[in-house]
Symmetry: C2
Subunit: 307 residues, 2 copies
């Protein structure tokens, strides 16, 4: 199972009752955050999943509304008793930006491991059960969209296990662990498992113009969280100017990407009632919903039909 | 008239419904803030006095809970259309700390004038109608208490004006302006005014141990805003350890300083109901009140009795 919570849905500046855009993901009690604007730590307190298990913080880009809450969050994670390393992932320069902000948060009881997306293997990295993928998008500064994927192993294949002469004693272990040493021999899980099954895929995309590569990147996602800074189609000029998307553009990406559902977020402060224009997105992609602060959903593995 | 609003009353970290400790002061529509933790800009939005007229931002010290909200606030002030300089006052190193934080707020449409307290004339500076005084206090890092004073000119003294042969035409002008040139001669307000009258004095004091110099510094203040991180007397050991004050210590300062009233603030997150222990402060200084987010009061000049 994988749980998602929207910590905030505001763009540009935090508002009373609307925190800045941020996503929280939980797998087996461990936590990953994407973006951390001013106030994100308060939103986290409202959700109540704790601070100590935040293992990964990803940044789409370095505009203040996506990162200004970091020093306070790191201090609060420290106060929660964390001593284990935290991984921070972001565009080029992430270490310099974070260290500059942390002039007011110098003494943390844990280490920060910085990962620049350019240095990752094809934009991908696995941390605990979080399989993270990044895609460069098109904003007024370097910016990335993210996928967070929970993989699912294949089914146990008795015939294969017997054929490869795998000792029965370690069959159940190999269904959980990746490998095991037994009687001075290394056994790996692929020796007893069938093909990897469909996992759970969450896509997160803000701030950007609707570049074509996004549809492929988010393909078949269980949930696509996407910016919709304005609802009305006649705001397209302004959206283009500031390198953002309107509802109809987000919905077109969702439709082309064949995602299961889309949640809109990163609303302009001028968009006081995001639901008002939701019909525009739903006309294009019916499973469009308005994100809101504190919106939570749990995702289970889906059994695929026999082929 | 001088208006005061408490923007937040939390210490250490922002909580749902309790922003970080910060004070907003308004004189003739112009604004001064002391401290700016994460979320202060949202609290300012709640108060509704605007962003554009923020002329001065003072920092007591550089712990994150007192300054982390600055980059976001500066961007929001810029979005409100300000182009006039802003003065930022703080301990030694204020320029370096602010510039480091502003790595995510590089393009502001106004200049920042930095003032280190050590460089001020006896810890005092006047900006517009804000007469600011700073006093070093005792915290785990260099930290200052502040007074904000609205001065009041003396009464018009007809006999003095006649004696000094001041032209009648400029009498009324000299009651408003500090000086005027008239018929190639400079006239100053002290030529027509009596002794300066009692103004309005607001004192703000957090984070610190109750050092003796504070009582003199806050002497006769109309309002003393003071930290009370814990209510109970048996928390004194913890307060001493982290260089903070309990309610009874704040109240003793208020009593010795002969202030008109005291508002407690900067509560520990563990102090969920600040009112519960208010009686401890009121036993020592009856005009003790619990500060709360959004608490507002207006202060008028008080007519002194004839001496």
């Amino acid at each position: 199972m994988l749980d998602i919570a929207l910590l905030g849905t505001s763009g540009m500046m935090p508002l009373p009752n609307r925190f800045l855009t941020s996503m929280l993901c939980r797998i087996k009690g461990r936590l990953l955050i994407i973006d951390c604007g001013e106030g994100t730590q308060v939103a986290l307190k409202n959700i109540g999943w704790g601070f100590k298990n935040i293992d990964v913080i990803c940044f789409t880009h370095f505009h203040a509304d996506h990162i200004a809450g970091l020093p306070g969050l790191l201090l609060t994670i420290g106060n929660a008793g964390r001593t284990e390393d935290i991984v921070i992932i972001g565009p080029e320069g992430v270490k310099e930006v974070v260290e500059s902000l942390c002039i007011i948060a110098k003494e943390l009881p844990f280490n920060i491991i910085f990962k620049e997306i350019d240095d990752l293997d094809n934009g991908k990295i696995k941390i605990k059960d979080f399989n993270i993928e990044a895609l460069e998008v098109e904003h007024s500064m370097k910016c990335y969209a993210y996928n967070v994927i929970l993989k699912r192993k294949g089914k146990f294949d008795v015939k294969k296990a017997i054929k490869l002469d795998i000792p029965k004693k370690i069959w159940s272990i190999l269904q959980k662990e990746n490998s095991i040493e037994y009687n001075n021999k290394i056994y790996t899980d692929d020796m007893v498992l069938g093909q990897e099954r469909r996992g759970i895929k969450i896509s997160y995309c803000t701030d950007t113009r609707p570049v074509e590569t996004i549809s492929d990147f988010i393909k078949n996602a269980d949930l696509f969280i996407c910016e919709g800074i304005y609802g009305e189609n006649d705001k397209i000029k302004k959206a283009k100017q500031y390198k953002h998307m309107i509802y109809s553009e987000a919905a077109t990406l969702a439709y082309n990407g064949k995602v299961s559902e889309m949640w809109l977020t990163h609303y302009s402060p001028s968009l006081t009632n995001p639901e008002e224009f939701l019909y525009i997105a739903q006309d294009i992609f019916p499973k469009s919903y308005c994100g809101y602060d504190g919106k939570i959903s749990s995702f289970q593995f889906i059994e695929e039909e026999n082929k």
